[in-house]
Amino acid sequence: MTFALTPERDQELEQILKRYPNRMAALIPVLHLAQDQNGWISEEVVEWASRRLDVPPAHVRGVVTFYTLFNQKPVGKHQVWVCRTLPCALRGAGQLLAHCEKKLGIHAGETTADGKITLRTAECLASCGTAPMMQVDKTYHENLTPEAVDALLDELRR
């Protein structure tokens, strides 16, 4: 199966290209666009990005493997990132993570059996003043309490 963006996303790609003096510079934003659609960066996405932006596939692979946010294998429908770094840890990030692991029945780095949630730890997300916190897909949830986390996870599993 070859990969292609939806027409709307392809239009967005054309807009992105206009922002830079060359095509390679669009690679990271374009990989985000592709991942939004595909969920992860498969070999097909790599080949597609290579053709579309005129950079070697090895370069695309190098970039994909460098950045934490590009998924190199399929992930759950929702991404839950618990910040684990010191300022959050001082306000209970360790307990927050343990709470999520127990509730979801998985360890950090794993996906629930129904494929709904992938749980991961994140490094400082610039939200230390409202800790503990977690990111769910594209949204930050801050000043978390056990009740707030339970409500959030229940909503995602529904």
Partner: protein, 460 residues
């Protein structure tokens, strides 16, 4: 000296404070860019900027105006302004507030900055996770374009200007300016050797100035009041550390957050007056003054500056909590001001567990390019982990110093120092706690706590 101001934060908390209407009403929005572009010459902008004594807000504290003055027109290549909004240094949560709550100050700052350094395009590099920040910046750009402020003829002046938001992929190292430039170009975010410096060959091989997002956001208010007057708002203007800036506090305080104050605020004021004091009214134990890479201070430390010529002499013998938070003052007490967001540790926090947490961060974020950093960060983590788990030896404790010292100065970028300095700081300031773990007097299960109380997570 505690002096709260609201040049940059006036829009915070206002309904729709991030929109152009509020910015124009409350902050003389875009009047300064209009005046600068219509009446000032490029070189005069740089000379004026120098007078503001704005020390870079990204961590190193380099004077902004001086950095601008390194830009020389190139016969064939364009110049670029690149804004660093990667905000990844643990403990730092200030740039995000500007992007979310006063994005127009960033756009107006970019316009003045571009004009001063001879650039027509500014790229704002925002870490990908900050989706709301990116959306607010894009919306601000659209509003400024619709009004004809940004575009082919800003305010009718023949000086085309564009601002573009670029996104990262989740890598702390991309906050380092040359790594950021590689990332902007669509490459792996590995730092570049310097020289050439960005002012000579930066983005796309062209002359480039990289400024932190808060640095550039301070520009409109500085130029509005006059840069010298702006600088003099600071209590340590005489140390070339001028103006107002954002101060953050997090960790074990009752009221974590970000406030705008005149430069010269002390840690005591930040922690007790703004931060509401230590959680649970515990005694203060330690402070990481400006992001995890800045060496930790003990709460009971005193300033040692007997030399009358030392800029710190006025505080000789006083608590480090009473030294004004400044770039040179904090370097003088053996640490760094960094990003000016402090992390507070209450009595009862385990310094060994704290260092272990941070070493996990540096291990995860090392880009792997330089051997001392790639291998050293892993080695530091493994030994700290052994000590925390009660399996470490005194030899290994000493080895931690050697490893850290061998990273220092032996890497392409300052990530190496950023890893080694906090490690050395914890080892030096809390040697006794590390030894207690080695001797089996302390254990992770009973002493390795990072939270103040036993109850679940604190929430806010």
């Amino acid at each position: 000296m505690l002096k709260r101001t609201d040049y940059l934060t006036k829009t915070y908390g206002k309904p729709e404070g991030w929109t152009l209407g509020v910015y124009e009403r409350e902050c003389h929005g875009y009047q300064t860019a209009r005046r600068v572009l219509s009446t000032m010459k490029k070189d005069d902008v740089v000379n004026e900027a120098k007078k503001a004594n704005i020390r870079g807000r990204g961590g190193a504290g380099f004077p902004m105006g001086v950095k601008w003055s390194f830009m020389r027109p190139h016969p064939t290549k364009p110049a670029y302004l690149v804004i660093n909004a990667d905000e990844g240094e643990p403990g730092t949560h200030k740039d995000r507030t500007i992007m979310e709550l006063n994005p127009h100050s960033v756009i107006e700052g970019c316009m003045i900055g571009c004009y001063g350094i001879g650039a027509h395009v500014a790229y704002i590099y925002v870490r990908d996770e900050l989706h709301l920040s990116k959306a607010r910046l894009w919306a601000a750009i659209a509003e400024a374009k619709a009004k004809g402020y940004l575009g082919a003829r800003p305010f009718g002046v023949d000086y085309p200007l564009d601002v573009v938001v670029h996104t990262g992929g989740g890598a702390y190292i991309c906050g380092e300016e040359t790594s950021l430039l590689n990332s902007l170009e669509g490459r792996r975010g590995e730092p570049r050797l310097k020289p050439p410096f960005p002012a000579q060959a930066g983005a796309f091989g062209c002359p480039t100035t990289v400024n932190n997002l808060e640095t550039i956001a301070a520009v409109p208010s500085a130029f509005h009041m006059g840069c010298e007057a702006f600088s003099k708002l600071s209590a340590i203007h005489h140390l070339n550390d001028g103006g107002v800036r954002l101060f953050g506090v997090n960790g074990h305080v009752k009221n974590p957050g970000v406030w705008e104050c005149a430069v010269g605020l002390t840690l005591r004021e930040l922690i007790y007056d703004l931060g509401g004091g230590v959680l649970g009214d515990k005694p203060l134990f330690a402070i990481i003054p400006g992001g995890s890479s800045t060496p930790v201070l003990r709460a009971d430390e005193l300033v040692h500056a007997p030399d009358e010529k030392s800029p710190l002499h006025p505080w000789h013998g006083q608590s480090v909590l009473d030294v004004p938070l400044g770039v040179d003052t904090f370097r003088g007490i053996g640490t760094m001001l960094g990003t000016c967001c402090a992390t507070v540790l209450a009595e009862g926090t385990c310094p060994v567990a704290a260092m272990h947490n941070l070493m996990q961060f540096y291990r995860h974020e090392s880009c792997g390019q330089c051997t001392p950093c790639r291998e050293g960060s892993g080695w530091l983590l493994r030994i700290t982990e052994k000590i925390l788990d009660g399996r470490g030896t005194m030899e290994e404790l000493d080895q931690l110093h050697d490893i850290a010292n061998n990273i220092m100065g032996n890497t392409i970028c300052a990530f190496g120092e950023g890893t080694a300095m906090p490690a050395l700081g914890f080892l030096k300031k809390f040697r006794r706690e590390f030894e207690a773990y080695v001797r089996g007097e302390k254990k992770k299960s009973t002493d390795g706590r990072l939270t103040v109380d036993h109850h679940d997570f604190v929430g806010g």
